[in-house]
């Protein structure tokens, strides 16, 4: 209804046009902020950071970015439905522990089992959101605690080394043309998810559910099925991210794998143009959001900024970035 929009009294025509032009520039900057920030940060590093242009450094960066890209993808879908998935970090740890427990099945069997488990937990998360109508923030919080607890319990709270060869070794070490195989897989999955969002009914339903629940319901959108699917996918991707992280570490380590990754995943998604208010999904943005955070980490490390100060700076950066994104909506 017209009543709900308060507009300012009409101004003279000329200043209005310039203000509109100014606004469109601001809009452009805002909607492309993640790419601009990424380019600026890379340029800064090329100029200032010693050894940043080294391919080995780049490779290391991509190894570490791969898991974050995966969970940022799942997070983007959840946020697109105006939800959130806080369990992703713990699901990475759970996946890691399940690999260690199920390693007797052989590496492929263990990996499949691990991903199946986190997918089921994601489905459970989705069920709480759809059928019990628990706030996704709250169900995710409960699974965050319980998931890491379970991950620790499975391994008695300690780190367990994983076999060095096989698929895990391949995932953890192998690169082609200096691009780690995990990064290739992550990019391929990002393309698949982007295709899912852009080219399938499921992708549309995700957007509808986030844009307006009641309009989606009246348009016959299968909202429940969509939400279940979104949280299951998020669980699946977090499971795979856990596999990547374990392969890189060479161990299942429930105390460290995925800790605070939920914050990075949310930050990557939101910075990449997936507003918390839902109804918009940008997969490319989420990928660059993840890369941006990873380059930020690398910047701190390669400039020998102490890990502790790096944490403080990163916290400040995330709050500032989310504050600016929030101002846009």
């Amino acid at each position: 209804m017209a009543e709900s929009v308060v507009s300012k009294p009409a101004r003279a025509a000329a200043p209005q046009r310039t203000s509109r032009e100014k606004r469109s520039v601001v809009d452009w900057l805002r909607s492309n902020s993640v790419y601009i920030a990424f380019a600026l940060l890379v340029a800064f590093n090329l100029a200032v950071t010693p050894g940043f242009d080294n391919v080995y450094a780049l490779r290391q960066l991509l190894f570490e970015a791969a898991p974050l890209i995966l969970i940022a993808l799942g997070q983007s879908l959840a946020i697109g439905t105006r939800g959130i998935d806080l369990s992703v970090g713990s699901m990475m740890a759970l996946s890691s522990s399940v690999i260690a427990v199920a390693i007797g099945l052989g590496q492929p069997g263990a990996i499949v089992t691990a991903i199946a488990v986190t997918t089921l937990v994601g489905l459970f998360n989705g069920s709480m959101v759809t059928f019990l109508r628990v706030d996704p923030l709250i169900s995710g919080l409960a699974l965050l605690v319980a998931g890491r607890g379970l991950a620790k319990v499975l391994l008695g709270g300690s780190r367990v080394d994983l076999p060095s060869g096989g698929i895990l070794g391949w995932l953890g070490m192998q690169s082609y043309f200096f691009v780690p195989v995990v990064a290739i897989i992550a990019i391929v999955i990002a393309v698949v998810v982007a295709a899912l969002v852009r080219g399938t009914t499921f992708g549309r339903y995700t957007l509808f559910a986030g844009a307006s629940r009641s309009a989606a319901f009246l348009a016959g959108t299968p909202v429940r099925r969509t939400l279940l699917g979104v949280y299951a996918i998020s669980g699946l991707l977090a499971g795979l991210a856990g596999v990547f992280a374990s392969a890189r570490t060479g161990a299942a380590d429930p105390n460290y794998i995925g800790v605070l990754f939920e914050l990075d995943a949310i930050a990557a998604a939101v910075i990449g143009g997936n507003p918390l208010s839902g109804g918009r999904v940008s997969i490319l943005g989420a990928v660059f959001g993840a890369l941006l955070l990873q380059v930020l980490d690398a910047t701190f490390i390669m400039n020998n900024i102490d890990y502790t100060y790096a944490q403080i700076l990163k916290a400040g950066f995330i709050v500032a970035a989310l504050y600016l994104q929030r101002a846009g909506h």
């Binding site: 019990l132 109508r133 709250i138 169900s139 409960a142 965050l144 319980a146 709270g157 709050v319 929030r326």
Partner: protein
């Protein structure tokens, strides 16, 4: 009209009775479970109910307890504070740094620091309208960094003198920490239930827009409450430093979630507007008891503690959701 009044009366009375039952279940469930678990486990582990063991359980739970007190205030207001665990760690470190200036400084400086963190969190949440979980999660990260920047590893307090006595001494044969916990909760209950500030907390958590229309200064109260939560976490840190005679930059890991679990198990609604401090205290003690039982079993690692609190939180959330939808007249 009198006709309709009489025909409606039994239904209304039934409705009211059911409401009261639900409210009772919500606020006293943790206490009931606490008693049942205590008695049941007491039969298997005779040591469990020994007075010294009980004192140990409560003393060990008292630090989390102070955090839960602040967290309950925040949750009742409809917010969330994930920064409390790392604030506790920072508190221990600040105590270690400030002890040379005397015990009052070592006790209060962490609380002041916590209030400052709360001021920043609260301002971003109340004025900039950012989501509490994002702001306080980032604060968790930042505070953790500050604590580690100040102290790479644990700092020995040396001869702490009276400062150590605050957390280790006894009054009437009972550890000071237990007194502190009980007094804090008693004061908290008084503030929550018998002051205009407490009423405003419930009002904001129950219906923020309505509270604003009813003249509650929502923004100010939000900021004050995050400050209170931060201050209590800092104070808990100071007391932990006094208790363990050291500054511990990695202490309190997971406390942010345990504190939420304890409060929610104790019947504080994550959606805000509902909660009692007796419930929250029962939740704290229940988690402490379970930790102790896990230790008694011996074969179980400490990780079970986290699994247990996660499972409790999960069950509590599901029960609360079922209860509230039942009441929604669905």
């Amino acid at each position: 009209m009198s006709d309709t009044a009489t025909t409606h009366a039994p239904a209304a009375r039934d409705h009211a009775r059911r409401e009261r039952l639900v409210a009772l279940v919500q606020s006293r469930l943790a206490l009931a479970v606490l008693i049942v678990v205590t008695l049941g486990a007491g039969a298997y582990f005779p040591n469990l109910l020994a007075p010294t063991n009980i004192e140990n359980i409560v003393t060990a739970a008292s630090f989390l307890g102070l955090i839960v007190l602040g967290q309950s205030f925040v949750l009742i207001m409809g917010g969330l504070d994930l920064s409390v665990g790392s604030m506790l760690a920072l508190g221990t470190v600040i105590s270690a740094y400030t002890l040379p200036y005397g015990w009052p400084v070592a006790l209060l400086a962490p609380a002041v620091a916590g209030a400052l963190v709360g001021l920043i969190d609260g301002t971003l949440i109340a004025r900039a309208k950012m989501a509490p979980f994002i702001v306080t999660l980032a604060a968790l990260l930042g505070i953790h960094g500050i604590a580690l920047a100040l102290a790479k590893q644990s700092m020995d307090l040396g001869d702490a003198g009276f400062f150590g006595t605050i957390a280790n001494g006894e009054i009437a044969g009972i550890n000071n920490m237990i007194w502190i916990l009980l007094i804090a909760f008693a004061l908290g209950a008084l503030v929550l239930n018998r002051t205009r500030y407490g009423m405003a907390l419930f009002a904001i958590g129950g219906n923020e827009d309505a509270a604003r229309m009813m003249g509650v200064r929502v923004e100010r109260i939000k900021i004050a409450t995050y400050m209170l939560s931060g201050a209590l976490a800092g104070l808990a840190g100071a007391l932990l430093a006094a208790r363990l005679n050291s500054g511990l930059p990695t202490a309190g890991e997971g406390y942010e979630l345990q504190s939420i679990a304890a409060a929610v198990v104790g019947g504080v609604l994550l959606t805000g507007g509902v909660g009692t401090l007796t419930g929250a205290l029962s939740g704290v003690l229940l988690l402490g008891l379970i930790q102790n039982i896990i230790n008694q079993i011996g074969t179980l690692s400490a990780s079970y503690q986290q699994l247990a609190s996660g499972a409790f939180l999960l069950v509590a959330v599901i029960i609360q959701s079922l209860l509230s939808h039942r009441r929604g007249g669905e």
